[in-house]
């Protein structure tokens, strides 16, 4: 079964608005990562947040992590049409076989110009 679950499954916003995507997971983790995928091919790493961190920023991206709720959120501020893509969270569990990156089902974001 998948470790991460994102919501919403799909999100449509206007350019300039903020987009928030959420990810929930099941087991304890070493870190949580967010990736972006265009056109159903290779994924691109966006940001990694460790289990002892609560918030991290990278440009227009802000990621939060709440290990007590086993959840994370990705905020994209001032969205652009070029941000249209699918976004996935991935977790590295620290139970069982560590190092195995498990991905959620993803959120499809559409930013309308």
């Amino acid at each position: 079964s998948q470790q991460g679950e994102e919501d919403p499954q799909a999100l449509s916003i206007q350019e300039g608005e903020n987009a928030t995507m959420n990810c929930s997971y099941k087991t304890s983790i070493n870190n949580l990562q967010w990736y972006r995928q265009n056109s159903g091919r290779g994924l691109v790493h966006l940001i990694l947040i460790r289990s002892n961190e609560r918030e991290k920023h990278s440009g227009r991206l802000r990621v939060t992590l709440d290990t007590s709720k086993k959840s994370s959120s990705l905020l994209i501020t001032a969205s652009r049409a070029a941000d249209t893509a699918s976004y996935f969270c991935a977790t590295d569990s620290n139970s069982g076989n560590t190092g195995k990156l498990i991905f959620g089902q993803g959120t499809t974001l559409q930013v309308k110009p």
């Binding site: 998948q2 070493n30 870190n31 990562q33 990736y35 159903g40 091919r41 290779g42 994924l43 691109v44 790493h45 990694l48 996935f88 991935a90 590295d92 076989n97 560590t98 190092g99 195995k100 990156l101 498990i102 991905f103 959620g104 089902q105 993803g106």
Partner: protein, 113 residues
């Protein structure tokens, strides 16, 4: 190389034939991952390697699927007696250390007819 390379990029095969998918990871990356993605779906974990060994093979869908990695570098994913439900994009990723930022190839789109 500059990035993760997968070959072929597209493969059409007849039901019942065997196929071999290849992944060349980034030089020096010890961890290597294989995922499968059906259209519009999330990434299904198949297997990962730490060096040449595979700590977790639990994601392989059936005994028709196998993977190996030699010399801590190139990996091949073999699907025997392909079925139509095997049709998907097969993605490979590598990372410097297990659980760290993963770099993805562009995938192999497999179509079984």
């Amino acid at each position: 190389g500059a990035g993760v390379s997968q070959s072929p990029s597209n493969k059409v095969t007849e039901k019942g034939k065997d196929v071999e998918l290849r992944c060349d990871p980034i030089s020096g990356h010890t961890a290597l991952y294989w995922y499968r993605q059906s259209l519009g779906q999330g990434l299904e974990f198949l297997i990962y390697f730490q060096g040449n060994s595979a700590p977790d093979k639990s994601g392989l869908p059936s005994d028709r699927f196998s993977a190996e990695r030699t010399g801590g570098s190139v990996s091949t994913l073999t699907i025997q007696r392909t079925q139509q439900e095997d049709s998907a994009v097969y993605l490979c990723a590598s990372s410097l250390l297990q659980g760290a930022e993963a770099f993805f190839g562009q995938g192999t789109r497999l179509t079984v007819v």
